[in-house]
Symmetry: C2
Subunit: 138 residues, 2 copies
């Protein structure tokens, strides 16, 4: 198949596929006219990349999976290098989630405090509009 069909089948754009090729993640055979052609293996490879991308992996982090598939392994994560990326990603996610939860708690606390200090309470009930953003002369 050609690049347009492949792009459509994985739900992306031709630009993205050419970008992957420029990064060395995807290779293409060519027709006599210079058109890129792909087979089902390329499709699987691409699906692997897209799955990881959806997980938030950087393109570079998908490379071991691609290499693994290219080496003839049944799955992209059949190689230790891919598993190492999984492990790093899990650790990274755990750290990120921890930090975000801490921030969430802090911001939540600030929100409660600020709401409590606001004269008309957490939600305006009887006022048509809040006029707080207009200038007050002191």
């Amino acid at each position: 198949m050609r690049i347009g069909e492949l792009a459509e089948r994985v739900g992306t754009t031709t630009r993205t596929l050419r970008y992957y090729e420029s990064r060395g993640l995807l290779t293409a055979r060519r027709t006599e006219q210079g058109y890129r052609t792909y087979d089902e293996d390329d499709l699987r490879l691409l699906q692997q990349i897209r799955t990881l991308q959806d997980f938030g992996f950087d393109l570079e982090e998908t490379r071991p999976f691609v290499d693994c598939l290219r080496a003839g392994h049944p799955a992209g994560d059949s190689c230790p290098a891919s598993i190492a990326v999984y492990r790093r990603k899990v650790a990274e996610l755990d750290g990120l989630i921890d930090r975000l939860q801490a921030v969430r708690a802090q911001v939540g606390a600030e929100l409660l405090r600020a709401e409590a200090e606001l004269p008309h309470g957490p939600e305006p009930r009887c006022e048509l509009g809040t006029e707080w953003d207009t200038e007050r002369e002191g």
Copy 2:
């Protein structure tokens, strides 16, 4: 004080402060020689911005807090517009954390599965090196 001192007191760079000024978040009076000068109010304003930045707020999201302080309010979050930003941020964080936890679970599961399918188990114990990244013929 001048820009260098202010930058040092909040732990940032002069470039950052000029950038904030270009975004309209920070204003400066000028000496006869054209040097920017700041007072303690500017310091507090800047500390407000930095605190929010540390929380992961975009610069634009700090604007209501800045406006609030400029309007003479005791804190940057003394205005409904700031509180609205808090609320949006909390919701955004909750959503993000949820998604990240789902991804974490998925990647964790893939990791376990892939480890189980690897012939030599989760951790190489008796082998000096893993030879998996070398080509296999066949």
